[in-house]
């Protein structure tokens, strides 16, 4: 039996401090504030990201709670229409720019991409820290805009409303988003160079875990797309502050140009959010099926295919914006093409499960949730890519439900699954498995109850972004709001027990899941500052489970006594 031996030895009693192990790790190397705020260790920067994205997630969640409370009744009784506009705008802004985009790359990517390829750190450690500071500065500027009265343009900042007519803090919010964009660019650049130049001996491109492939593809989008958002926001700010006319029809400017530029980034940005999630799912499916992933190279290349195709479909957000019909046809066809690499992934994950030795651990439950929800989200995306049907459901709750199935049902489920899977490695503690499974179920139920009714609402014609609605939409909206409260509990639970586990969780061994990959097989738990005791030499493909498949999958519950 190799290092992947399933049953952990006697578990040492949990001790008060994380540094129970005699050896020093990245957490115990230095306890000062300074050592955290000026760290250039990619793992510590990952933890900084974890703290900040969690904060923004719950801020965005708070706005969602208020939205769903308002929508629990048909009349506008909790908030005014203007307030409601600000709430959904800030919900979108916070969740997209300050949670979804940096979440998996900033936390799990930062922490694990270098370890998975056998590197001591990212290629540019200082740039990595800078990207966190840039993110925080952008976040604080936007937060300031929220505190000073908020913004009501929708997260899309459509001109000319945002540039000329809106009476809220558009410029300040835009500055915050502009700044945060550079954080994304720096992260992407760092990951690309790291993957190209920092791989350990023997770590060929086709031995890399699919998590790394997914992050590489994501990073390509980050460095190619985000600068266009930056220039768009800059033009918007110039327009708003100096009325230069570039998006103002009165002066010959074209507001649709804003939409083109905006979606040139913001559609690929959807893949910035979902591709790393797909990377997480690939790791988890293989680890808990104890099987090499089915069709490794197809899954790897499908990430790149999604990254490339993602740049060619932005016009499907603008079928009703006065864009030419011929452009609409082309964008529609190209949007359908994105379904191919996405389906390649889903089928390959399903095929990996087939005849695998499946362990229904907490991360795996999130994976199964992801598979179903992402599939629904993806297929309804095809409905929306149909030129004819889109006219009917455009700007209705159908769209809202669709992208929440991808962003929340997909990206957030994967983030939670990945966080549980790597939690022992990151902090050296096991989370409570039973509670973990329970909250995964709560999240799944709450999610579907929240968002499935929105498909129906949208199909029946309820438009998005209104604070009041006709009586006949009442039942479905009440269901949705009820679901949101369950979903909220599902998100609070992991936060509580994960924090609890930092102190009271059973100590984790180096490889509690018996999983493959350098982070489990070679890096101690938690990893030391430079990740490995010696530079690892890679001799195997990724997910080489077949050779030493144990009769029974690992049961980490065994360690709970």
């Amino acid at each position: 039996m190799s290092a992947a031996g399933p049953i952990p030895g006697p578990i040492p009693a949990p001790s008060p401090a994380l540094g129970r192990a005699s050896r020093e790790n990245y957490l115990t190397a230095d306890y000062s504030w300074r050592s955290w705020l000026l760290t250039v260790d990619h793992k510590r920067i990952g933890i900084l990201y974890l703290l900040s994205v969690t904060g923004f997630f719950f801020l965005g969640g708070l706005f969602a709670v208020l939205l769903r409370l308002e929508l629990a009744t048909p009349q506008g009784d909790l908030v005014q229409a203007e307030t409601y506009n600000k709430l959904f705008t800030m919900h979108g802004l916070v969740m997209i720019f300050f949670f979804l985009v940096p979440s998996i790359p900033g936390v799990l990517g930062n922490f694990f991409v270098p370890i998975m390829i056998g590197a001591k750190d990212m290629a540019f450690p200082r740039l990595n820290l800078l990207s966190w500071y840039v993110y925080m500065i952008g976040g604080l500027v936007s937060f300031l805009a929220i505190v000073m009265g908020g913004v009501d343009t929708g997260w899309t900042f459509y001109a000319p409303y945002s540039s000329t007519y809106a009476n809220s803090n558009v410029a300040l919010t835009a500055v915050g988003v502009f700044i945060t964009g550079f954080s994304s660019i720096l992260t992407g650049l760092n990951i690309i160079v790291t993957v190209h130049k920092m791989r350990a001996p023997g770590m060929t491109w086709f031995r890399m875990p699919l998590f790394v492939w997914a992050h590489y593809a994501t990073s390509l989008i980050m460095i190619l797309g985000t600068p266009v958002l930056a220039i768009t926001i800059l033009l918007l700010a110039l327009e708003r502050l100096f009325h230069i006319g570039i998006f103002d029809p009165k002066l010959g400017g074209d507001p649709v140009l804003f939409q083109h530029l905006f979606w040139f980034y913001s559609h690929p940005a959807v893949y910035i959010m979902i591709l790393p999630a797909m990377g997480v799912i690939s790791e988890l499916v293989a680890a808990f099926s104890r099987k090499r992933i089915f069709g490794y190279s197809f899954v790897a290349f499908s990430s790149l295919a999604i990254a490339v195709l993602g740049f060619l479909v932005w016009g499907h957000h603008m079928f009703l914006s006065g864009q030419s019909v011929y452009a609409g046809v082309v964008f529609s066809v190209l949007s359908f093409l994105v379904a191919i690499p996405s389906a390649v992934k889903v089928f390959n994950w399903a095929a990996t499960l087939y005849k695998g030795s499946v362990l229904l651990s907490t991360p795996m439950m999130y994976v199964l949730g992801f598979l179903g929800l992402f599939t629904i989200g993806g297929l309804t995306g095809l409905f929306l890519a149909c030129l004819g049907l889109d006219v009917h459901v455009h700007d209705t709750y159908f769209v809202v439900a669709h992208f929440h199935y991808i962003m929340v049902g997909g990206a957030v489920m994967a983030f939670l699954g990945g966080l549980h899977y790597w939690w022992p490695k990151m902090f050296g503690r096991m989370y409570p498995e039973a509670l973990g499974k329970f909250s995964a179920v709560v999240v799944f139920i709450g999610f579907n109850l929240t968002f499935f009714p929105q498909f129906l609402l949208g199909y029946l014609g309820m438009p998005r972004r209104y604070h009041a609605y006709p009586e006949e939409f009442g039942v479905l909206n009440v269901l949705s709001s009820a679901g949101a409260s369950i979903l909220g509990i599902g998100y609070l639970l992991p936060m509580v027990y994960l924090i609890w586990s930092l102190r009271y969780g059973p100590a984790a061994v180096q490889n509690p899941w018996g999983a493959k990959g350098l982070e489990w097989e070679k890096a101690p738990t938690p990893p030391p500052t430079f990740n490995f005791d010696a530079t690892p030499v890679v001799t195997q493909e990724a997910y080489a489970y077949a050779d030493d498949l144990p009769a029974e999958p690992t049961r980490p519950e065994a360690s709970y006594v």
Binding site: V40, L189, V193, M198, I223, P227, V228, I244
Partner: protein
């Protein structure tokens, strides 16, 4: 910054295996950064293409207001600065401290000349009410689509000038490093990286000059 990062006597950062790996990583990082810059300017070039094709006559008229002589001089100055930059990179490869210093400063001075000429041009536009905004007047009339041309002119050349200021700052910093005798491998590579950036900014101008000053000029 930190205890161990960047230790090893300064040349090789801890997380690289050898200098070769470090040099390759820095070079790739710089090229990737330049790709983001291409996209950053790309949005503006895209907007320019759209509006130029929508309003060809207004753009030609507006283009005639630009001083192509000053623009031409500036183009020559900038190409000259790229030449001195190449000489600085060459001097860095030969590890000749004073030559590096001298060529870097020649580049900085040429960059400053460019910015000075740019200031004169901007000032003229300001005096002639050609700056987009409420006070914009084109041949005595309040703004039509000519204003779009000037909006793009100021955004594009302004962003370009901003990049030159950053570049000049980097070159000043490198010239100080050169005097301190940083002729080791990473220092040498730094001059080369700054050179890549400088040439990129130069190249943006090579596109801006004909698009803004020359195209459709005699219509």
């Amino acid at each position: 910054m930190s205890d161990s990062h960047g230790a090893h006597g300064g040349a090789l950062a801890h997380h690289f295996e050898d200098l070769e790996q470090q040099r390759e990583a820095h070079t790739l990082g710089m090229w990737a950064f330049l790709v983001t810059e291409v996209l950053f300017f790309g949005g503006l070039f895209g907007a320019y293409a759209v509006y130029r094709s929508s309003y060809p006559q207004a753009f030609a008229n507006a283009s005639n207001q630009l001083d192509h002589v000053l623009g031409g001089i500036n183009t020559a100055v900038l190409i000259g600065s790229s030449f001195t930059m190449v000489l600085a990179v060459h001097a860095a490869q030969l590890r000749r401290k004073w030559q590096i210093f001298g060529w870097l400063w020649a580049t900085i001075v040429l960059g400053a000349v460019f910015l000075g000429v740019k200031y004169v041009e901007y000032h003229h536009k300001w005096e002639h009410h050609l700056v987009p905004g409420p006070n914009f007047l084109f041949e005595g009339q309040p703004g039509g689509s000519e204003q779009l041309f000037f909006a793009l002119y100021f955004s594009m050349t302004g962003l370009h000038a901003f990049h030159m200021v950053i570049g000049a700052g980097v070159l000043i910093w490198l010239s100080v490093l050169a005097l301190k005798g940083r002729f080791d491998e990473p220092g040498r590579n730094a001059v080369e990286m700054a050179g890549l950036y400088w040439h990129f900014v130069d190249l943006v101008w090579i596109f801006l000059f004909p698009l803004l000053y020359l195209l459709g000029r005699h219509q």
